[in-house]
Amino acid sequence: MLENVPILSLLLIVPFVGAMTTLLLGTSPKASKYLALVFSGITLVLSVLLLFNFSLSSTEAFQFRENYVWIQQLGISYNLAVDGISLPMVFLSALLVFLSILFSWDVEERTRTYMGLMLILEVGVLGVFMALDYFIFYVFWEVVLIPMYFLIAIWGGPSRAYASIKFFIYTHIASLVMLLGIFALYFTASPLLGSPSFGMEAIASVAGSFGHDLALIVFSALLFGFIVKMPMVPFHTWLPDAHVQAPTAGSVLLAGLLLKMGSYGVIRVCITTFNDLSHEATIMVALAVIGVVSIIYGAFACLAQTDLKKMVAYSSISHMGIVLLGIATMTELGLAAAVFQMFSHGLITAVLFMTCGMFQHKAGTREIPLLGGLAPKMPIVATIMMIGFMASLGLPGLVGFIAEFSVFTATYNIFDLWVLIPVMSVAITAAYYIWAMQRTIFGDLTTKIDTKHIHDSYWFETVPLAVLIGLIALFGIFPSLLMDIILPSVAPLAAVI
């Protein structure tokens, strides 16, 4: 059905045209919102079409490929395609941007710019997940920074100027280190290939004949670029600032999509290109240690937070650590679980940040000590929060459980009983979530803030959350819907040659 439709290009063109249309024609807040919703809606429909037309029996590693020479002299191509690793991310991106736009229905300040930036962000994120050429990969990677910078800097909290510039420069420096790695790949691979090429597959095909030391240096440079984005301890300090200051939709996209770009990069670039190196025990242990430190550090940091949103931000660090741990196993199950966890964290964290946003909105504060007993005042918000927290701490039947359980199983297979260390984090996670719930929605109604005007969620808040929770349950009960897509694509990476 989609044989002759350049659907991947459309996935970039539609939000881009949408952004331009919104910026030009969004003369009133209402017009901007509807324009943005329609264009992101079309993108979502396209991504769903992509999902249903993706062939599980295909022998090709990548599908829907579009490949045109762009800058001949340097060997740069406009090369897009999706496989089982990128497809869930493409769908997640289109979904979260659409829901975030809906959730932002009450943004009245400079709505046109806000909506335009969301759509530009969507172009960048989708481009990262579909690019198979290092040059355009890097272009999209950097394009993402600009709208996110503005989203934080203009619509953010009180210290938004500091947080936005820190986010921008911190992640930009990481990108530049990654760029050095890309240069090194390019100049080392081009003579081996006989012609200059930035193609990911072409470079990966000859990367095995790089010297071991060079491979290690390039691998490290690329990995650094990605783990700052994920972010892994100790390069995580930009994240809490950016999240606390960002507007709700900004946080949803930051945690839901931008962090995934980092872990996606580790899989798509680092371990695909340097597959032999990644199977070495030292590298696997190094990745596992970075992951586990982030899991534990993030979980303990959550316990100490009084700001609900900051707690959720630190929980992201912890949960992204699980992704890296899954990657570190270099087994089929571990890698598939890592991708699954990326998807599941994207859904769950969106629910959590939206909940935080509603608390801010309705109670006027996110400070946990000031809240309490709010469940009767806003039963829907409280219910959603409870489901979100339960999903995040890994309640069986919901999507987070499958991902974490698979990662821990894979970890046990490779690292034996060391798995007990990250597993311990589950207890801490449960502790901080349940404790936070106890203090915010249960117990006696707080007297520290004015609770008279607190009301339940609006329709444009409930609908996106209901959709997300529906998907959390769906993929929790039927994980094979997604696993069947992911597994064939990670299998070649796990195989020891």
């Binding site: 002299q73 340097l74 950097e142 530049l176 240069f183």
Partner: protein
């Protein structure tokens, strides 16, 4: 034998228009008419140069086969186009900027003459013609800087520029005379042949000549430590002229360095490569670090230009065709990015908005087009894709990595590292301006109206910045040809 002067036709067109302007001024006393006539002249010349590039056929060199003086090749034509494009938007922005000044005809006339001088430099294959072109361009720029002679800052800037410019020309000329003394020729390629035949013995006079040439031309490009004049002059000069100096004159300085070092002294490159590398790192670092502290937007842009010159000098240190290709490419993109930023400053100065960065607070609401243009240009300068500055930095920096793979040249890797760190640093002060424009509230929300000609000048730069960024293929192609033409001597 009759001499074929057709290689000089583009320059002649410029000179004829420059000479005609005072006469036209006697009839039509309007800065807009003068600007219009100048634009026609520039446009005709651009068309001529473009015709050469597209057809790939160039007129015969002027001078005999053994003693060529001027040669119009793809390198010369490409740089002529850069200079002409800069002159085009400078004149466009000046149309209203000088409407209340006296001596308007001379103003436009001098811009055309300065451009003609730069074009001669790009064509020169002999040190004498090179120097002649340099002086035509320099003397015109001195006068333009001090154009508003009653303005104290302008007069001071003009005097300073004149003294330093004269001194640096003298230093360079001394270097040229030493080279002539050593090799017995002023032909640039000829010098190289003689030096190549002399073997690798280190001649103290030769080292002195290299030092004098780097210092003399280094002043023109504002290389650290010869950069002190640049911010003062840019700040004091009329705003469009600051754009001409940053985007035009400076690029001419790069051409001087390319011609003398990469053609004339390439045989002994081992003697000066490391020095050029050190100067490159020093220039980019000092420029960017000082730019961070600036509160005046013109000074900030001036120091950022110093930093950008440091990137371009990488090509000198690396001395490969690929690096020069990147450097030429970056010169082209920089001409639009930095020139456009200066044009925005000029447009805002025209409506009496101050030059302090803090005056730009809330600009997004007051002048949405200028604010978004400034944002795009600054992002491009910082090297954020998909804008032109990213692609040109990409080629330039990667050239250093490429060259560092050769044994003995591993240190060039650090050029790329330094350049990349500097790029990250520069993002900080660029984003600060953007933050002022978009995040902070200004004291007033009145809309700012600027003349359409200034808007057009800015629009040209922004469009070029976006188009080259998204579709760099043809430009890279011409840059490669130009770099090869340069190395072919």
């Amino acid at each position: 034998m009759a001499i074929d002067y057709s290689a000089l036709y583009p320059v002649m067109v410029m000179v004829v228009f420059a000479a005609a302007l005072p006469a036209i001024h006697a009839v039509a006393k309007s800065s807009r008419v003068l600007a219009g006539v100048s634009l026609v002249g520039i446009f005709v010349t651009m068309a001529l140069e473009l015709m050469y590039i597209v057809s790939g056929e160039y007129p015969a060199a002027i001078g005999g086969a053994s003693v060529e003086l001027l040669r119009l090749d793809v390198f010369a034509a490409l740089f002529a186009l850069v200079f002409l494009a800069v002159a085009f938007y400078v004149v466009l922005a000046s149309a209203r900027y000088v409407e209340k000044d006296r001596h308007q005809a001379e103003y436009f006339s001098l811009i055309l003459l300065a451009t003609a001088g730069m074009m001669v430099v790009a064509m020169a294959v002999d040190l004498i013609t090179l120097f002649a072109g340099l002086e035509v361009a320099s003397i015109s720029s001195f006068a333009l800087t001090a154009f508003r002679k009653k303005d104290k800052r302008g007069a001071e800037a003009g005097a300073k520029y004149y003294v330093i410019g004269g001194l640096s020309s003298a230093i360079a000329l001394y270097g040229i005379s030493l080279l002539y003394g050593i090799t017995g020729t002023t032909n640039i390629a000829g010098i190289n042949t003689v030096l190549a035949g002399m073997g690798s013995e280190l001649d103290i006079a030769l080292l002195l000549a290299i030092g004098l040439l780097i210092a003399g031309f280094g002043f023109k490009v504002a290389l650290v430590p010869f950069h002190m004049w640049a911010p003062d002059v840019y700040e004091g000069a009329p705003d469009p002229i600051a754009g001409l100096l940053a985007a035009g004159s400076k690029k001419m300085g790069m051409v001087l360095l390319f011609k003398v070092f990469l053609v004339g002294l390439i045989a002994i490159k081992a003697d000066w490569q490391l020095l050029a590398g050190v100067l490159a790192v020093l220039t980019m670092t000092v420029g960017n670090v000082i730019a961070v502290q600036q509160t005046n937007i013109k000074r900030m842009l001036a120091y950022s230009s110093v930093g950008q010159a440091g990137y371009m000098i990488i090509a000198l240190a690396v001395a490969t065709p690929y690096a020069v290709e990147g450097s030429i490419f970056h010169i082209i993109t920089h001409a639009f990015m930095k020139g456009g930023a200066f044009m925005i400053v000029a447009a805002l100065a025209y409506v009496a908005l101050g030059e302090n960065i803090a005056n730009y607070k809330g600009l997004a609401k007051r002048a949405p087009f200028l604010a978004i243009s400034m944002t795009l240009l600054l992002f491009a300068l910082a090297g954020i894709p998909p804008l032109s500055g990213f692609v040109s930095k990409f080629v330039l920096f990667s050239a250093a990595i490429d060259a560092s793979q050769i044994a003995d040249q591993n240190w060039m890797f650090w050029l790329a590292i330094a350049a990349i760190l500097n790029s990250a640093l520069s993002l900080y002060y660029y984003v600060r301006v953007i933050k002022y424009m978009y995040v902070d509230e200004g004291s007033t929300k009145d809309r700012i109206k600027v003349p359409w000609s200034m808007t057009a000048a800015v629009a040209i730069c922004v469009i070029a910045t976006i188009v080259i960024g998204v579709w760099p293929d043809p430009v890279i192609d011409v840059c490669e040809q130009a770099a090869r033409a340069l190395f072919a001597g």
